[in-house]
Amino acid sequence: MTSRRTLLTMAAALAGAALISSPSLAQKKYDPGASDTEIKIGNINPYSGPASAYGLIGKTLEAYFKKVNAEGGVNGRKLTFVTYDDGYSPPKTVEQARKLVESDEVLLVFQSLGTPGNTAIQKYMNGKKVPQLFVATGATQFGNPKEFPWTMGWQPNYQSEGRIYAKYILDKHPNGKIGILYQNDDYGKDYLKGMKEGLGAKAATMIVSELPYEVADPTVDSQIVTLKSKGADIFFNVATPKFAAQAIRKAAEIGWQPVHLLNNVSNSVGSVLKPAGLEASKGILSTGYIKDSTDPTWKDDAGMKEWIAFMDKYFPEGDKTSSFTVYGYAVGQSLVQVLKQAGNELTRENVMKQAANLKNVEINVLLPGIKLNSGPNDFFPIEQMQMQRFTGDRWELFGPIMSGEIGS
């Protein structure tokens, strides 16, 4: 019992969980993948291939569930984590999803990573009525309960974040000239869409140049040079860590000093700003919802201390400077919260019901004030973010907690 309690870091969450799960305690109901002793969770991650950096999230989850089991499991049941590699190739994602559902008979598929892969299996998962829960992508199409009631996102979606920057620009630099660098895929285009929607009618006049890059490009130097020469004084940097760091460094190198808005995907101090150069990164603006493990602000933070203890004990070989390990820890906790709420009624339907019934859930490695909220018509659990400015050694939060209010 005590070990079970240690899992619940937040008293509020505990109260909420007890309240909701109590009615179902009376009767036990199971779908495939759940029993008196076990809950089987499926996952798909790119452990190999060009996107293998993300494999770290899957490994963190594996370690996190080990911790949960060592501390007594969820409502007395052990979590069995079945994770497969799709190499970021959609046909392989379909194969692995089918393997999880039809061969391993998992209760749910959790944190499958990447927009193309998740799009590829969305129809299948919904047809089979198996939860495709907390997908690891910020694309907006995974929060559409009317059409896909079995698919739910988790992180703030890219489009909302784009809108938050647009709001900031309209507020502080209404006459600015915006230059955008974006990755030429769904992720980049979602940010672009959010930014344009946020700017509204002013988008056409304010955006002076939008340049894509491909993952296979060696550098983005050429794009940065063009953006500067088009006279942009606001730079919206929608790139993944490597290219974001290149862009920061190149901009400094050619003496371009715009208002620099860096997307959340690449705002890790340890794995982006430090390689790019802390001096060159000074003054960069971004948004956050997760605590940065390399940011000294959280040196004495209880949540981050717990995370470090977890990393030391269960995932010592894991990379502590990467934001993926914190992310994995946070999303793992979110799933445990859902399963706790589901109590003894471990059916696929109830898992979705409870996932859509998160009320002010706090996760200790998310920024203070950011809470998980979902409902039958709200399949975006995290919608809040806060803007932050890089001071040269840490992120400094400023302004109110904002949400991009997509669809509202």
Partner: protein
């Protein structure tokens, strides 16, 4: 005009990256008459070795030299251990082994050193030369290193007996054997030199693109393209080809309307194929005459 000049210089800077890699491609081509698809990954792995040595506290130039030596030995060992046993197998089987090496090196590098990008130090000053804003000191340094390598290679192939023997072993193994050249060891030596050049290329490129297991994926393609455009038999051609690819890519991406920015790479590749159709052996390569 200013944009043109800027893009031209940025193109020369990235062209330097390709030129460096193209030299390694020419080196391996001169010794095995083929591409090595794992060459980029070998260079990446060498760079990680250098990074590790630096992390252990070795001074830059010591680590630099060590890495070159280690890579050279590794190249020779790979040839002796992996390719000698299948030297009579069809060419396609060799290509499969290249692919296998590619995946092994990529996977192991990610396993040991993680996928998070690492910054790799540059041996050159961080302030640009003469305080210009157009081309960084590292870019100039990289171009200088490429030219030094080029001269060394040129001297090796054109003015030493060893170079002649290597070329003979690659071009016509049977006749080479008849005149007393130890063909097997010439090939191994070629592998070693290619690995060493690759290591230098990796250490020059990493400060620009950051060190991570997939850093060579795109660069190898451009390097190959550069080498092919310039002519696989000519180190000078390969270097010029590398620069040409860098410049064409940047200018196409900037000045071709509508599709240019999205198809930067594609346009560069189409141009290369077009060049090849007019001059099938590359701009500086010698036309191969085959015996019937």
């Amino acid at each position: 005009m200013e944009l043109f000049l800027h893009q031209l210089l940025a193109g020369i800077a990235t062209g330097g990256i390709y030129a460096c890699m193209a030299l390694a491609v020419v080196m391996i081509y001169q010794s095995i008459d083929h591409f090595n698809f794992a060459q980029g990954e070998m260079a990446m792995f060498s760079t990680y070795i250098a990074w590790q040595l630096l992390a252990w506290g070795f001074p830059y130039w010591i680590a630099f030299a060590f890495t070159i030596v280690i890579s050279f030995i590794a190249g020779v060992v790979i040839e002796r251990a992996l390719f000698k046993p299948i030297r009579n197998a069809p060419v396609l089987s060799h290509i499969i082994v290249f692919i296998a090496m590619f995946s092994i090196l990529n996977s192991i590098a990610g396993f040991i050193w993680e996928h998070t990008i690492k910054s790799f130090p540059s041996p050159f000053p961080s302030q640009p030369l003469f305080n210009n804003r157009l081309i960084g000191a590292h870019d100039l340094g990289m171009i200088a290193v490429t030219l030094i390598l080029l001269v060394l290679l040129y001297v090796l192939f054109r003015h030493t007996r060893l170079g002649l023997a290597m070329r003979a072993a690659a071009a016509n193994p049977d006749s080479a054997r008849l005149v007393g050249i130890r063909v097997g060891w010439m090939v191994a030596l070629g592998w070693g030199l290619a690995a060493a050049i690759g290591a230098v290329a990796g250490m020059m490129i990493a400060p620009v693109v950051f060190l991570e297991p997939n850093m060579m994926l795109g660069i190898l393609l451009y390097g190959l393209a550069g080498a092919v455009v310039g002519g696989l038999t000519s180190p000078v051609g390969a270097v010029l080809g590398g620069f040409a690819v860098g410049i064409v890519e940047n200018l196409a991406g900037t000045f071709v309307p509508v599709i240019g920015k999205e198809l930067k790479l594609t346009i560069a590749l189409v141009l290369i194929v077009a060049v090849l159709m007019v001059k099938p052996s590359g701009l500086f390569g010698r036309t191969a005459v085959s015996r019937v």
